[in-house]
């Protein structure tokens, strides 16, 4: 796969490029293929969802997300997320990714509970250790806060 152009600044395309790179010839990369050190510039904006325990939980919750959300959700279940926050919107379409087993990216404009109006973009990409059962989701998101936002 052609490496992501270093001039490409869009987080979701860079994360997708990395996902394709670690997948190699396989349809899906394995959970253990996602290593923070390999994407140190994107790791803070990323999250890793572990599906192996039944209840989806965050195995990794990027430092930028922890600060923006206000809590480090590492080890916590997705269902604990406050509704209509950036990260909750970023994982809301998880069922669609589980069903279709392909990377999906959604974005848009939204207002967070604190009144922050943001323009965001997110991506969720499936992971599988055996090529059949999905064992995790590699994702990421970032946003721009609107200048006329209440929370800005």
């Amino acid at each position: 796969m052609e490496p992501v152009d270093p001039r490409e600044r869009r987080l979701v395309l860079r994360l997708l490029g990395h996902w394709r790179e670690i997948a190699g010839e396989r349809d899906l990369p394995a959970f253990s293929d996602v290593v923070g050190a390999a994407i140190s510039d994107m790791w803070d904006y990323s999250f890793l969802i572990d599906l192996r325990r039944g209840e989806p939980v965050f195995a990794h919750f990027g430092a930028w997300h922890a600060e923006f959300y206000g809590t480090d959700m590492t080890g916590r279940a997705l269902k604990e997320l406050t509704r209509d926050t950036l990260v909750e919107r970023s994982v809301r379409y998880l069922p669609e990714v589980l069903r279709r087993r392909i990377p999906i990216t959604y974005g848009g404009e939204m207002t967070e509970p604190e009144g922050r109006k943001i323009l965001y973009r997110s991506i969720l990409m499936p992971l599988s250790d055996d090529g059949e059962t999905l064992t995790g989701i590699f994702g990421g998101s970032n946003c721009k806060i609107s200048p006329d936002s209440d929370g800005a």
């Binding site: 796969m1 152009d5 869009r10 979701v12 395309l13 959604y106």
Partner: protein, 138 residues
């Protein structure tokens, strides 16, 4: 009225199209399709726009990007389909092959024919002798 749009990247490999990824942003989908196309990992790539009108509950699809390779594949698929529609000429009937008699069979037949001629000749001679009275005295 709310018109929902998503953009699917389709990749072609091993003789079939597969949905590779889904975007809600046209520009991102086109950029990613271009990157996939340049990677040469897949035979071809295309971007399909799917629309759904929530008010009328009607949707549609159209291809907004095709790699040059995908155009060639589509043309080849169409040609194959057209060929498949033509009625193929029935194969010629298979004629049963005549078995050539083997040497041993020929030999048996020849011997039998010769024996019939000899015995027949002897019987005929005996018959003529009995009529003319010529022949060995008994």
């Amino acid at each position: 009225m709310s018109l929902l749009k998503v953009f699917e990247i389709h990749t072609y490999r091993n003789g079939s199209w597969k949905i590779d990824s889904v975007f809600d942003d046209r520009d991102l989908a086109l950029m990613e399709a271009d990157r996939i196309d340049r990677s040469n990992r897949y035979s071809a790539v295309r971007v399909v726009e799917e629309t759904f009108d929530e008010e009328t509950e009607r949707g549609g699809t159209r291809t907004i990007f095709r790699s040059t390779k995908s155009e060639r594949i589509n043309a080849a698929n169409q040609a194959r389909q057209q060929q498949g529609l033509k009625v193929a000429a029935p194969p010629p009937p298979i004629k049963p092959k005549k078995k050539k008699p083997t040497i041993s069979r020929q030999l048996i037949i020849g011997t039998v024919v010769l024996a019939v001629i000899l015995i027949g000749g002897m019987v005929l001679l005996e018959f003529i002798n009995s009529l003319t009275g010529v022949g060995p005295r008994r």
